[in-house]
Symmetry: C2
Subunit: 274 residues, 2 copies
């Protein structure tokens, strides 16, 4: 993590930040967060991320004591103090120290800046493998901190040669652990809308390809796709070429995915110029 962070109500040295262990953010995993990145010191798509963070707080009955404008100001101050030309920014709001150790109360706000490594170039060139896992994230449309399942599952990813998981349940796919998923068949792009977090990169892709179908996608439709890709702040658009031991078509990134990757890079460049 970078040298300075925002903790409760001021900017301090990151190493001195602390939260009480009895905060339900820790003992009950009751907290929300969001994560975005800077590109040339600009926090990319900041309004979208702040809107989502504020919405997550509202949906989880947590009191966020800072307005959107105040949060943006704190973030700009942190970017300057940490000289964060390219990096990640993590905002977190905890559930607080609760009398009954369960019910939400007034919590603490933290904002940390981090180094950010994108996947290796070879992964963008060759695509990645996802492991199928039967799982549904609880309160999936809220960016909660409950990642026990994928963190636990991730211990096997490296030895399986996998980048991440693809969640499915009752025959339908939803999302990866921290990414959205898109499938392309006969030139038409589709993405699921149920049991997912509504990603900001996902939203951008739907601006770049305005004909994306938003609908349930079965697991067999995933396997039968011409192209598959995942989207995330930390991955941009990343081709998926294998699910478990089964190749997607010929196991190579497809033309429409590559086209969207190029278009997204241009969009990022333009966003930074604005």
């Amino acid at each position: 993590m970078k040298q300075f962070c925002f903790s409760n109500d001021k900017i301090i040295e990151s190493q001195n930040a602390s939260i009480h262990p009895m905060d339900i953010g820790f003992i009950r995993g009751y907290g929300i967060f969001d994560f975005f990145r800077t590109s040339g010191y600009i926090p990319l798509f900041l309004t979208d991320y702040l809107d989502r963070f504020i919405r997550s707080a509202e949906k989880t009955h947590l009191n966020l004591e800072f307005s959107k404008v105040e949060l943006a100001q704190i973030i700009h101050d942190l970017i300057q103090k940490n000289d964060l030309e390219q990096g990640g920014i993590r905002m977190m709001l905890s559930g607080g120290i609760s009398d009954n150790h369960f019910s939400p109360t007034d919590g603490s706000l933290f904002i940390f800046c981090e180094d950010l490594d994108f996947p290796a170039a070879s992964k963008y060139e060759n695509g990645v493998k996802l492991l199928a896992a039967d799982h549904v994230r609880a309160i999936a449309d809220v960016k909660t901190t409950n990642y026990a399942f994928p963190v636990w599952h991730s211990v096997n990813w490296k030895k399986e040669g996998a980048e991440d998981v693809i969640y499915h349940h009752n025959g339908f796919i939803s999302e990866s652990s921290r990414s959205n998923i898109f499938v392309i068949k006969n030139g038409k792009t589709a993405t699921p809308d149920q049991n997912i977090l509504h990603g900001i990169t996902r939203k951008r892709v739907m601006e770049l390809d305005q004909n994306v179908e938003i609908r349930p996608i079965s697991f067999s439709e995933l396997l039968d796709a011409d192209e598959v890709f995942m989207t995330a702040t930390t991955k941009k658009i990343l081709p998926v070429t294998m699910i478990d031991d089964q190749k997607i078509r010929d196991g190579k990134p497809g033309p429409k995915t590559i086209e969207l990757m190029t278009a997204f890079a241009a969009m990022e460049k333009n966003s930074v110029l604005v």
Copy 2:
């Protein structure tokens, strides 16, 4: 919380305990815990709880630096320092500060002592209401800290007159948010075994009633039961007399539940004398 706690490697004032907010115990909700109580200064069924805590650490790939004997010694020291005649003890192990902010690493151990209020006498006399919720806890046999769903759901419990939830999925019940569930029909007791945490009070009940059937239980079987009760460290055996707006039989605690409540009280008394 009580005055003294164990934090990392020593007993300190509870108010001075802290964890770094970038610990994945907070940012990813990756941590385990366990909770037990003292009865007349004796930590009830301590061996069972320590065994489960150690098993939770192993299953989640977390490194617990203390042996069972060392943990028991720390707990006895804390009971003395906090004069904990009747109270709760919460052990927690975090996932640590991870380089990639995701993978488990070496975390921190905390042990806190708390006041413990059992449900009001009227709830034992009249039984309580549970709200049905379609949910399956991730890695259910491990006592992780991921309680985002029930904490979020609990905001409605009071106005619905409910004590807690009963989880069901695909037509079958599993557990309540922090309790196990038992049903009785025609004098036979049954409890589910899938997607549950294996409770210590549940284990004790199966010692008191050695004919408990361990098998899948459908939601309609729950509604059709003669008696229903829940078990938990903080509830002992608590009769359940209503699911949503439907009474269980006549809506009163049944004779076999009351018999088990009495037998459990005697067992607790004996455990303390040993």
